[in-house]
């Protein structure tokens, strides 16, 4: 009786196992090298003044403060618009919708939006907001375009967390005679807040990483913007971190600055991923 694995099966086993380990090692190795290289090139250029000043040829400073401010601008404005819309849509889908067909249409639209590449958003955002609505290339036009992009993310995560709220909570509240909206406000939304927060964090991640949209709906100026009056606020326009990276790398050939920005973007990505997974874990509990 042959009690050992045949040579060909042993070879298959060994070969397959090697392939799996190699692929996983390659994936991880790639990431480690990527992070290592970016930090190696980028960290030396990061200093307090790099983060807190604007670039100035006169004073010979390189600073990315304007890009940081612009990034915060688009994050805040997009979320302020997208959050109510997205949460509202999710509430409609899980709490109110009775027409199966309509739900399918809305969900299909949401999926479609999620699959559209950002260069298309850039093109359409430019036509709609910058040209048709005469907003010109401004941070407002960029933020509004970003709203369309992050909407699916917010709708989907909110919808998922609304679904996890036990039906008994709803019945309990309605049984006490409260109206539907009151029930949603006092029972459903508070118990799904973690999911909404996760959705926001993921949306922030997408906004921070986005470049194409911002390159074609906002100007690429790296100078400091003036936000002093409402009018100026509406008209301000300048590069966010990703766009500034592109400008420094591709147009100015200032690679040290580009790598420093890349390092900051990397750090932000890690931070965002960590908070999202923490919020997600809390959600599971």
């Amino acid at each position: 009786m042959n009690q050992t694995l045949s040579p060909s099966r042993r070879a298959y086993d060994l070969g397959a196992r090697t392939l799996l380990y190699l692929s996983a090692a390659l994936t991880c190795g790639l990431l480690v090298c990527l992070i290592g290289y970016i930090c190696f090139r980028g960290i030396p250029g990061i200093s307090w003044s790099f983060l807190t000043t604007a670039a100035s040829v006169l004073r010979g400073t390189v600073g990315i403060f304007p890009a940081i401010v612009n990034t915060l601008y688009v994050i805040v404005v997009s979320l302020v618009v997208a959050l109510p819309l997205g949460v509202g849509a999710a509430i409609y889908l899980t709490e109110y919708a009775s027409n199966r067909r309509l739900v399918e249409v809305i969900e299909f639209a949401t999926e479609t939006l999620a699959g559209i590449p950002s260069i298309i958003y850039a093109l359409v955002g430019n036509v709609i907001f910058c040209v048709s609505l005469r907003l010109e290339k401004t941070l407002i036009a960029g933020s509004l375009t970003l709203v369309i992009m992050v909407l699916p993310t917010i709708i989907r995560t909110t919808q998922e967390s609304l679904k996890t709220v036990p039906q008994s909570y709803r019945e309990g509240s309605l049984g006490l005679g409260s109206g539907k909206w009151h029930m949603i406000r006092t029972v459903v939304l508070p118990s799904s807040i973690d999911g909404i927060v996760t959705g926001c964090i993921l949306a922030v991640g997408r906004i921070v990483g986005e470049s194409a949209i911002l390159m074609y709906t906002v100007s690429m100026s790296t100078g400091m913007q003036d936000f002093s009056t409402i009018e100026n606020f509406m008209k301000s326009s300048g590069a966010t971190l990703t766009v500034a990276l592109y400008v420094y790398a591709k147009e100015n050939a200032e690679f040290a600055v580009a790598f420093s920005i890349a390092t900051i973007l990397l750090a932000l990505t890690i931070l965002i991923n960590l908070t999202a997974s923490l919020a997600g874990k809390k959600l599971k509990r």
């Binding site: 709490e95 790398a249 890349a262």
Partner: protein, 278 residues
Amino acid sequence: MQVLFLVCGLIAVAFVLLITVYLILSGIPAIREVGLIDFLFGETWSAKNNQFGILAMILTSIYGTAGAIVIGVPIGFFTAVFLAKVAPPKVAAVIRPMVNLLAGIPSVVYGLVGMIVLVPWIRVTFDLSAGDSLLAAIIVLAVMILPSIISVSETALQAVPKEYEEGSLALGATELETYFRISVPAAKSGIAAAVVLGIGRAIGEAMAIIMVAGNVANMPSLFSSVRFLTTGIAIEMNYAEVGSLQRNALYSIGLVLFLFIMLINVLLNVVLKREKED
């Protein structure tokens, strides 16, 4: 209250319609002026000479995506099998966040590293005058689609019932034989969905490859400077005057790209529906 929420829900639908209508309305004029055949199958794109043929870009997008899939799918698939089946839980718990991080890194960062590391490497290795090429774009795209391929395939593999695997092991199959002959076929529609998703990602990416592909609208070959549909839009967007034929032709490229994406979405839905039925 209900009406308000209904409006929110309909906004997503409105956006899709708005995007579709705008793309069609602004994409048609240039196609009409150039002629559909000349537009789609013209080999030369030159705004200076008023020539707007996008065949080179279409082919570049197809070749580039295919190349990224050929490289990215095997690596991603094997990594997913490793994570779902072979890796000790502690190792998997370290690798998964790394894969998520890979997914979260902004495209311009990939573009930057590609431009500074990959492009010179290709120039030196293959003894070219410039390293900006289809090959560079393919490699960058392959890395960028890895995370979606890994996480979607892993989810599909995790969902394979344990009973199937036990049945195979009890017949005397080795663990690896079981994973590849039972688990992988059982997860095939999920894995197919991962590949389709990867295709969508690759064909839609613009900013990372604009930094490494050279952006000359040549007919694609591995070592030549090329322009994708996405980068074709991106590279001239900020220069083409509103109302000009060049500008309108960019919208037409957008329309073509949009049709590609919709086709992929339909494909994805078919695949996912089949998965649900399984």
